[in-house]
Symmetry: C2
Subunit: 232 residues, 2 copies
């Protein structure tokens, strides 16, 4: 996949979400991973600028901190199909599960089930990159105290599905709050302050985070369960 | 330069500045381009995490919107040397000019003079990347109405020094305010709403921006002229 088109985009409106645009080649078929509703116009402008054909909007999980752009994109670009894990409980055009492929042109995302932050969390592997959603963040990970979260499950997911990738695989998370853009599997295995620990220590850490109730969850979750804003 | 280490970092503290970390290889010699004083601890932690030897802190120009991290980094890591254009009028350990190379291990930055936003603006070319400072932004460019700025000069700089690079050269700017991370030379030649125009149109556009006086200029400029915070 030497001619892969790849762009990372950041939600400057407050959620610090990363959205990823991939295409199999310049002018080719594209997917958007984790679009944010406030940034849909920016994202579709970039798709148009690059002359890409958007096939799928792909979600790593049912987000609690922002509203997915999936529904709005489908309204603006009929024919685009939304993708999410079957286990997320959310509506979408395509439900995927571990081992599936999301194909775009000559390229594809390999679906890996990485539950623990939520029950339906997926990571997507493409070439030397892995899009980890909130399962693995740069020197961190998503919380495990709501939406069917489980620290034990998350630990097993990351160790079995992400840390088994080659060390130089580039980790692209769903969020970052300190201005980091990416990491690598090798780096996180060695330096992640939570996931480099033993499972027992990890469970202890995650049980003592004392995080506040997510600000946007009551607005975002019901919308994300139907893949965002729907037809009026 | 197949084993080049490369990281893009974003200033989440308000200036929306991109800082770039490059090393010739894992564990090798490194440079930091445009560090921001508020993010020095984060940046040096990453240098340490990756086991790199920081040689130079390199500035694209004398910034007016944030304080460079150069001075603070030199205080924390004695031996690191600051780099800026001779034409910037700013103090630094190393003054560079068009055609020079900033060498780190087996890799180097090629210095290109791209004045117009300020008199001493440089772009740095490394491998298939160009770090353009404020000379060329994603679908934009830096203002030309202070610090010796000149719209005519900026237009000539970008067209002669950046738009002559191969179309697939990745453009890494000093700032972005909409969540874009990068662009390419080909894209900006075609899509930049200012620099894809004729020189006369460009000068007209830049003369009518009506921008406010930069918020941090009175604090930042005097400090940046001595490469940031100095010894007490
Ligand atoms: Fe999440
Ligand atoms: Fe500037």
């Amino acid at each position: 996949m030497r001619s892969l088109v790849f762009r990372q985009l950041f939600d400057t409106a407050g959620s610090s979400t990363y959205t990823y645009l991939l295409a199999d080649r310049p002018g080719g078929d594209a997917v958007l991973v984790d679009p944010v509703v406030e940034q849909v116009d920016r994202d579709l402008k970039l798709v148009e600028d690059l002359g890409l054909k958007l096939k799928y909007v792909v979600n790593t999980h049912c987000h609690a901190d922002h509203v997915t752009g999936s529904g709005l994109i489908k309204r603006k670009l009929p024919g685009v199909r939304s993708v999410i894990a079957k286990d997320s409980g959310a509506k979408a055009d395509v439900h995927v599960a571990h081992g599936d492929r999301v194909e775009f042109g000559d390229a594809f995302l390999e679906v890996r089930a990485t539950p623990g932050h939520t029950e339906g969390c997926l990571s997507y592997v493409c070439d030397n990159m892995v899009f980890t959603g909130d399962a693995l963040l740069v020197r961190g990970c998503g919380r495990t105290d709501f939406q069917g979260g489980s620290a034990e499950t998350l630990y097993d997911s990351v160790h079995a599905q992400i840390f088994t990738l080659p060390d130089d695989t580039v980790v692209y998370p769903a969020h970052d709050y300190k201005g980091h853009r990416s990491s690598t599997v090798g780096e996180e295995k060695r330096l992640n302050p939570r996931l480099s620990k033993s499972k027992a220590e990890f469970v202890e850490i995650m049980g003592n985070l004392g995080l506040p109730y997510p600000k946007k969850i009551d607005e975002a979750l019901p919308l994300n369960l139907v893949c965002g804003i729907q037809e009026e």
